[in-house]
């Protein structure tokens, strides 16, 4: 049984070998054989799903499966632990990475290097998910980072290179602070294991030691926060996700930032869930609102999506903050499963959107959404899957975004914070109306379509060549079926919100929040059962509220189309920070977290 846990890392590692073999000179003249090896690589990734199915009964029963590497027992050796939280994150990782891998296979522009780093990224993410000690977390994070830098810069497009370098500098600085945090923990407690840290932290009564440990936690959290990309550490994300190749964008936005966030949840719950609760709630709400304002002012289709990733992560962070504040109580579990629910949903619909928009960019050779020709008639099914993604992110009832936003807004009841989240809802609706113009069925001919040549300024070199090579009238069937698959998942996760939340609560109860559940067995079930609002998520009042939000969204959209709105958007867009500012913002964020940790009342 426990071998299944290590399989989750071994499958992607094995998947890195096939692309390496494909780099052998023998295959240089045999592109079809090399392609077969890439397919084998993606197929090996799919093996992870099998291991997950195998593990499900045990994890669902509330037991954690532990695997010790090389049979070194726990205090000495490296252990991997699979619990409810890890299972859910692994599911997200594997579902999406296999789908995105198939999508990449259907385009011919990705070579052996791509599949190698792709599989390495999955292995690293599984490491982050399964690890039980902070140093392994560091190593896994760096594996993920190295793979991500290469994948972002894969096409060697100028802006992608800049974005990748920016990401490298910022996240390396972040991870060095993480390492420094590990040092502080080791100096104080002499252990690196998360479980032992949790025990010692709760036992330690010396205020000076507690203060050092809290500073260590702030240092660790900031290190992970750079990867998670909430304010003020979000600065690298838009460029990196927008200028990366489309499958990379989908995987980074859909999975990587979630995995980092879940690692942060684990860290915070290991130490002190209450400590940063208030701070993170505000950061989450502000991130959501600010992210959407930026998203609304973008003209670049993928840039808009990337800013939405920041904005949607704001929801997740806010939900997680409430979960931290109310740790151990029924609300806490409800908030945690709500925010996890939204993280998974966002992973699904955002990767769907990135793939759909990426395909549209492919078909038209144009990234500017005002210049893209309308695709609704040319690719109706593509427009349909985009529609599912857009309706999900805008929070329309019946789709998954509505369900999870609903759970989060039912737990975030602090006035200003919930107002900010509500504003975000309006902005999200508006910006997706803006983006959806690309997929409208109208026959409006634009400059690009008349000349049938990609705009040389906007389309990057790689996209130009890609557009020349494979600008086709049709979307590849396998790419389209991947998108339809993810779209179906979006709908499936949305029709039965209560059931999904209950399942999530059950999984989490057995896993990470074990201590809380031990005090009051069945807390999660009680919370979900007692929560009246969840029983009937589709009441008329709620539907009316959604309608109001959507109507306001249309209003905001029309406002951005006016002259004044356009000028304001241009100004907001010009506020994108440079590397220098990015690092200063990072330090400011670090100082904020450290101050909260330092001045927290010793409990």
């Amino acid at each position: 049984m426990s071998e299944a846990v290590i399989l989750l890392i071994l499958f992607p590692l094995a998947a890195t070998i096939a692309p390496l073999v494909a780099k052998l000179p023998v295959f240089a003249r045999r592109p079809r054989a090399a392609r077969g090896l890439w397919m084998a690589s993606v197929a090996l990734l799919a093996g992870g799903l099998g291991a997950l199915v195998w593990l499900y009964p045990t994890v669902a029963a509330g037991k954690a499966v532990v695997y010790t590497l090389g049979s070194w027992e726990i205090p000495l050796g490296i252990a991997l632990k699979m619990d409810g939280l890890a299972w859910l994150s692994s599911l997200l990782v594997y579902l999406l990475s296999v789908s995105v891998g198939v999508f990449a296979l259907s385009h011919r522009e990705y070579g052996s290097e791509f599949y190698f780093f792709f599989a390495l990224l999955v292995a690293g993410m599984e490491g982050v998910v399964l690890t039980t000690d902070v140093f392994n977390l560091f190593v896994s994070f760096e594996i993920v980072a190295i793979a991500a830098y290469v994948l972002i810069a894969y096409h060697r497009d100028a802006r992608a290179l800049v974005a990748s370098f920016k990401y490298l500098i910022l996240s390396s600085v972040g991870i060095l602070f993480f390492l420094f945090g590990i040092f502080l923990v080791y100096r104080e407690l002499g252990t690196l294991s998360l479980e032992e840290i949790a025990v010692y932290y709760r036992e330690s009564s010396d205020p000076a030691r507690l203060r050092v440990l809290r500073l260590a936690l702030s240092s660790l959290v900031v290190g992970v926060a750079v990867r998670t990309a909430f304010l003020p550490f979000h600065t690298w994300l838009p460029e990196a996700h927008a200028f990366a190749p489309h499958p990379t964008s989908a995987l980074l936005s859909g999975v990587l930032i979630k995995v980092s966030l879940l690692a942060m949840v684990r860290l915070i719950h290991t130490f002190d869930p209450q400590l940063f609760g208030q701070l993170l709630l505000w950061i989450g709400a502000v991130t959501a609102a600010v992210g959407v304002v930026w998203a609304l002012s973008q003209r670049d289709a993928k840039m808009l999506l990337a800013y939405h990733s920041i904005s949607q992560m704001g929801y997740v962070v806010a939900g997680m903050a409430v979960a931290g504040q109310a740790a151990g109580s029924a609300t806490g579990i409800l908030a945690l499963s709500g925010s996890l629910y939204h993280a998974i949903n966002h992973g699904l619909f955002k990767s769907l959107l990135f793939l759909a928009v990426g395909t549209a960019i492919h078909m038209t050779g144009e990234r500017d959404l005002y210049r893209m020709p309308r695709l609704g008639r040319r690719a109706p099914l593509l427009a349909l899957v985009f529609g599912v993604g857009a309706l999900s992110i805008a929070g329309v009832p019946g789709f998954n975004g509505y369900a999870s936003k609903y759970v989060i807004s039912s737990v975030v009841d602090v006035g200003p914070a919930s107002l900010l989240l509500w504003i975000t809802g309006v902005g999200t609706a508006a910006s997706f109306i803006k983006l959806s113009r690309v997929f409208w069925p109208g026959a409006e001919r634009t400059r690009t379509e008349q000349s049938m040549e990609p705009n040389p300024e906007t389309a990057s070199a790689a996209e130009r060549s890609g557009a020349r090579l494979q600008r086709r009238r049709r979307v590849p069937v396998s790419a389209l079926s991947v998108m339809v698959f993810i779209a179906l998942l979006c709908i499936a996760a949305g029709v039965a919100p209560r059931m999904v939340t209950a399942t999530l609560g059950q999984l989490l109860e057995g896993g990470m929040v074990a201590e809380a559940a031990a005090q009051a067995p069945g807390t999660a079930q009680a919370a979900l059962g007692a929560s009246e609002s969840l029983k009937t998520p589709f009441t008329f009042a709620k539907l009316g509220e959604t309608a109001v939000v959507l109507a306001l969204g249309v209003g905001v959209y029309l406002l951005t189309q006016t002259r004044v709105g356009g000028r304001a958007a241009h100004r907001v867009k010009a506020m994108a920070p440079r590397l220098h500012t990015v690092l200063v913002l990072f330090l400011a964020g670090l100082a904020g977290f450290a101050a909260v940790a330092y001045f927290a009342a010793p409990s």
């Binding site: 760096e142 290179l161 670049d300 500017d368 300024e457 958007a569 220098h580």
Partner: protein, 126 residues
Amino acid sequence: MSVYLIGALFLIGMWGVITKPNLIKKIIALNVINGAVVMFFVHHSSRSGTTAPIRGDGSAGISQAMMVDPLPQALMLTAIVVGICITALGLALAVLLHRKFGTLDMRRIERAAWEKDETGGGGTHE
């Protein structure tokens, strides 16, 4: 005392990463920070004992209590390797950036990339 020196090294590295516009200097500064953190660990472990953590046949009269804690050194070996990977990758990116933009000045590179974005994005709102 030496802890403060290591701390100063850390801050020097931070200063370098933030203020130096040259890509390669930024990467060197990252290495300085990395070195400082490694030294924190090694310094801490070096004070936990008096001899190397090598178990002989016991005749030398070295007890386990006298040995330094070997774990931080093992960890730092990994951290150094990770640091080298990041440095190598960063330098590779710097080479590619230099080829594209003809300069190593991050400010100029970003300005050029941003202008590209502006003209590509269509300049004014239509």
